[in-house]
């Protein structure tokens, strides 16, 4: 086929795609008319616009390479059933609780568990819901109500900025929707905002709503919904200065970061000119006195804009079209797929897997449960190479410690503080980039001593608000030293430990010192792996 013919053929396919693609709204979930879809999605994508997006991708060569997504060679012996459960709990939850591995083994194995976890609404979590409602009442309030109750007084505001990290950790440790908590951790970091502790920023109280109504709400929806929800949320509008961006004096902060950090990836397929043009497109995207999104035409830069090779019309619709273009762009699929695979599989994710996941993302317009499933049920996920190959982040380490010890928790404040000291304060990342999800970011000479101390303090009762119950130790008390250490290794680590760790454990077990054994294990190199 000649080059010209190929081009013509591609064009026909694109036209056909465009004709079929006429959603009711760009940001509604068109598969089931999800009532939770943002109400603001008024703009309908015309076939012409849709076509332009596809041509844009085609020109950028972005659709090439999709088909050569084969699986690569899996190295090493298969994981046995028990190891598979351990891998699933290490990667898809914040780590096993005592007895959880056996429980999953005895009720259908890891796949049954994972399938249920992929549908979080199917899991009864009413105990936690009650706890959350009682401990963190703002999770059920509107922003204006939160403002009424908490914004005026300094101590009330402190409740919010101590309470938000507290709630994040509490849910991570105790929710039965274990996978949801991991996913939420990912998106919270991806669409990062911070929660200032000062007096002047409304983010002190809008951030808690952002957690509920952007991150948690759409974690199992479509990517474009979460993108749209974040773009129109007062916390994001304020955080990246979109609220201040006006005609002729536009602010580039959000326009740059939405492309660099939220969708396309740094320097991937856009220029500095595109940053300026998107800034103009989004002028007027603001929130009103009730903290509701309201496009303000008086702030909007008049005239059409030329962005990413397309002409974007003036007005609110132009902004929706731009965000929709970003959400469905092949580079976005690639960028998000890579990040998700890094998070769930390996710091250096297998290329073939990334390609397959990116394709699922792209073909489903970012239908997130389908994207997650493409990762979880891949051979790469359950392979020997990727078994216990990730280094826990500070947050993952602390929460997994609380889970492994079956800790009773009254308050997460001290734990949140330690996590902050380890460099990962919750809702306080210094940059909109979020934290880097690679071992190198967390494994310095020195930082392991802090984890070591946390395990030690937790066991000694020196982590305020968290205690290891006597029932934890009771399981080991009557055992012989050799069985004692073996059982504790199986409960906390799952597999084996290093020789040095075993020796230390043996000497503590010989004295039946279960507290010391537990401290050693929590602070050991093996427990830092997941």
């Amino acid at each position: 086929m000649s080059h010209r013919m190929t081009q013509r053929w591609v064009l026909w396919v694109l036209l056909l795609t465009a004709a079929l693609l006429t959603p009711a709204s760009l940001f509604a979930d068109d598969t089931d008319g999800n009532p939770d879809a943002p109400e603001l999605g008024h703009h309908k994508l015309t076939p012409e616009e849709s076509l332009r997006i596809r041509i844009l991708e085609s020109q950028a060569g972005l659709r090439t390479g999709i088909t050569k997504a084969q699986s690569e060679t899996i190295v090493g012996p298969n994981l046995d059933d028990r190891e598979k459960v351990i891998q699933a709990l290490n990667r898809l939850s914040f780590g096993p609780r005592p007895g959880e591995i056996d429980q999953i083994l005895n009720s259908g194995g890891w796949e049954t568990w994972a399938k249920a976890q992929l549908n979080p609404d199917s899991i009864d979590d009413s105990d936690l819901d009650k706890q959350v409602a009682a401990r963190y009442p703002w999770t059920h309030m509107t922003i204006t109500k939160i403002q009424e109750q908490y914004a005026e007084d300094k101590e009330d505001r402190a409740q919010l900025y101590e309470g938000l990290p507290d709630s994040v950790l509490y849910r991570a440790a105790f929710s039965k929707r274990e996978f949801k908590e991991m996913v939420v951790d990912f998106w919270r970091n991806h669409f990062a905002i911070d929660q200032p502790h000062g007096n002047d920023k409304s983010r002190s109280w809008t951030a808690v709503d952002y957690e509920e109504n952007v991150i948690r709400k759409y974690a199992f929806g479509k990517f474009k919904q979460m993108l749209f929800a974040s773009a129109t949320h007062p916390a994001m509008l304020e955080y990246l200065d979109q609220q201040l961006s006006k005609a002729n004096e536009w602010n580039e902060n959000y326009a740059r970061e939405v492309m660099e950090l939220h969708t396309l990836g740094a320097d991937r397929g856009y220029t500095d000119r595109d940053v300026q043009e998107l800034s103009k497109i989004l002028t007027g995207w603001r929130y009103n006195a009730n903290y509701q999104f309201a496009f303000d035409p008086a702030w909007h830069q008049p005239g059409p804009k030329y962005w990413l090779g397309m002409t974007i019309p003036e007005g609110y619709a132009g902004g929706e079209l731009a965000l929709y273009t970003l959400a469905t762009h092949r580079n976005t699929a690639q960028f998000i797929a890579e990040k998700l695979c890094r998070y769930f599989v390996n710091d250096n994710p297998p290329e073939a897997l990334v390609q397959r996941v990116a394709t699922v993302f792209h073909d489903t317009e970012g239908d997130l449960p389908k994207v997650y499933a493409a990762i979880i049920f891949s051979p790469e996920f359950m392979s020997r190479q990727n078994y216990r190959a990730k280094f826990k982040t500070p947050l993952q380490f602390a929460v997994s410690s609380l889970r492994a010890t079956d800790a009773n928790v009254q308050s997460m404040n001290s734990t949140a503080l330690v996590i902050a000291q380890m460099g990962e304060p919750i809702y306080e990342c210094a940059d909109p980039t979020g934290y880097r999800d690679v071992a190198e970011s967390w494994m310095d000479a020195g930082v392991l001593t802090k984890r070591w101390d946390y395990g030690w303090d937790l066991v000694r009762g020196s982590v305020r608000g968290a205690t290891v119950p006597q029932s934890f130790y009771d399981r080991y008390q009557s055992l012989k030293p050799a069985d004692m250490e073996q059982k504790m290794i199986v409960d906390l680590i799952g597999g084996d430990v290093g020789d040095r760790e075993l020796k230390s454990l043996q000497s503590a077990a010989a004295q039946s010192d279960t507290q010391r054994m537990l401290s050693i294990l929590l602070g050991s190199p093996s427990f830092q792996q997941r």
């Binding site: 190295v75 090493g76 012996p77 200065d241 201040l244 961006s245 006006k246 004096e249 536009w250 602010n251 580039e252 902060n253 740059r256 660099e260 740094a266 320097d267 500095d272 940053v275 390996n346 710091d347 250096n348 297998p350 020997r384 190479q385 078994y387 216990r388 190959a389 990730k390 280094f391 380890m422 460099g423 210094a430 940059d431 980039t433 690679v438 071992a439 190198e440 967390w442 494994m443 310095d444 000479a445 020195g446 930082v447 392991l448 001593t449 802090k450 070591w452 101390d453 030690w456 597999g495 290093g498 020789d499 040095r500 760790e501 401290s519 050693i520 602070g523 050991s524 190199p525 792996q529």
Partner: protein, 459 residues
């Protein structure tokens, strides 16, 4: 590390850091962690190591050059800065003096928040630069900071930090344990790489047990474990069994973690000893002061500290940057008070200590509608030390406010790597080009700004 393990790492694609994003490979990381740096030489007395020290202060977020070093004699400056301009007398929005002349210059001034620096400037130990930056055009914070700390360009394949490469290039079999240091919770990119550097905010009261658990002797068992996995493989009845594929990832990862821990033990002990040194100045309260106080203690303890970095974040003023007495002025005030304290604290140690203040890029020449500025290109730096050669009030190439890049930014006339190269050459007497500390950077001494004098070679 046995050959099979190393091959396995490469074959399996197991890396601690992702290649594409420019992170270290496990292989590099492991080599660094395995090296015997910091071991005490049988005959050496560690306390006699007086070395020159380079201290970098990174202002994260892209500090606004034109709101720090102000061409107040240029009418164009006031044309571009309609909301946050600084005036040499009490005018402007809140009627305060916003800018003070730099060494009597009627053209150059500095933000009045930096007034504490005046004596240092008069003594000639402090030198600001303008129009410094990266030839890489990225205006992403992440990429620009990363480029500057790696002293490289985007997508160059260089993964380690430039200060770490200095340590690696000049290492000896028995190095002082604290040749590199940061007094923070985590090591910044500039100090990351093969050479182990301590993130000095970490302690434990259970050091003995920790030391026992994170012991290099664990490595003796690695060969044994390689053997053990071979055995295990045959037990699994795998007929196509290849031993080199069976060195378990999880074991490998554990060893890397154990080594990382063991590397910290000696360094933490050395730091604790050095921290007994008294402080001779009053630092401002806050993170930067705490970091500099610790770094100064280690320098004064003469334990061989050569490179250290302190970080000061929050300079991304898209809004509310402020004119006279504004937010930016206050932050510059904190920075200045810290430089003054550090200089006083070190005393004669400043003869061999160079401080470099840097930021990833400058900002738009015009202010935006929110009394802030957006990401730009050319920026500023400040150097401080007794070896500074202060002939003019300001260093770097300046062609006036009409000299703009894309009509919106200060251009980059000096590659920041020229400043790094001059610092390394004249402070440590190393050739930063031949040693590969500044890879793929084609430059020479003729590119130097000559902002400092060569330090006499030490015995």
């Amino acid at each position: 590390m046995s050959q099979s393990r190393r091959d396995f790492l490469k074959a399996s694609g197991l890396v601690i850091m992702a290649g594409a994003a420019g992170y270290l490979s496990t292989d590099q990381f492991v080599r660094g962690q395995f090296a015997n740096y910091g071991a005490t030489h049988p005959g050496a007395t560690a306390d006699s190591r007086q070395r020159p020290t380079l201290v970098t202060i990174f202002l994260r977020g892209g500090a606004d050059a034109l709101n720090a070093l102000v061409p107040y004699g240029d009418p164009l400056y006031y044309k571009y800065r309609t909301h946050i301009a600084l005036y040499p007398n009490a005018q402007g929005k809140n009627g305060a003096v916003g800018v003070i002349p730099l060494r009597g210059s009627s053209y150059w001034g500095m933000n009045a928040g930096m007034a504490p620096l005046t004596p240092l400037i008069e003594q000639g130990v402090l030198m600001p630069f303008m129009n410094v930056g990266s030839i890489d055009g990225t205006r992403s914070h992440f990429s620009a900071q990363d480029n500057m700390e790696r002293a490289s360009l985007s997508h160059s394949g260089v993964t380690s930090g430039w200060l770490n490469r200095y340590l690696e290039a000049t290492k000896k079999p028995y190095d002082a344990p604290l040749r590199g240091l940061t007094a923070q919770n985590l090591v910044p990119r500039a100090l990351r790489g093969e050479y182990p550097v301590l993130a000095g905010n970490n302690r434990t009261e259970q050091m003995d047990l920790f030391e026992d658990l994170y012991n290099p002797k664990n490595l003796v068992n690695m060969t044994a474990r390689d053997g053990a996995t071979e055995e295990r493989g045959s037990q699994l009845g795998d007929t196509d069994y290849k031993p080199e594929e069976h060195a378990l990832t999880s074991d490998m990862e554990r060893d890397v973690i154990a080594l990382s821990g063991s590397n910290s033990v000696e360094r933490i002990k050395a730091l604790e000893k050095a921290e007994a040194t008294p402080t001779n100045a009053q630092y401002p309260r806050g993170g930067l002061g705490d970091q500099l106080r610790t770094i100064a203690k280690v320098i004064k303890a003469n334990v061989g500290l050569e490179v250290a970095q302190a970080d000061y974040g929050g300079w991304d003023h898209h809004s509310d940057e402020g004119g006279a007495g504004g937010k930016h002025a206050k932050m510059l005030g904190e920075l200045s008070a810290n430089l003054v304290a550090f200089n006083a604290d070190l005393g004669s140690h400043m003869d061999r200590t160079l401080v470099l203040v840097m930021t990833e890029f400058g900002r738009t020449v015009a202010d935006n509608g929110a009394s802030g500025t957006d990401h730009g290109r050319g920026g500023f730096m400040i150097a401080m030390g007794n070896m500074i050669n202060a002939k003019q009030p300001i260093s770097g190439v300046w062609k006036g406010m009409e000299d703009l890049d894309s009509g919106r930014f200060l251009p980059v006339h000096t590659d920041f790597r020229a400043v790094f190269a001059e610092s390394l050459t004249r402070l440590f007497h190393v050739d930063p080009f031949k040693t590969g500390i500044l890879p793929a950077y084609r430059a020479g001494a003729s590119d130097f700004l000559n902002f400092m004098n060569q330090l006499p070679e030490q015995a």
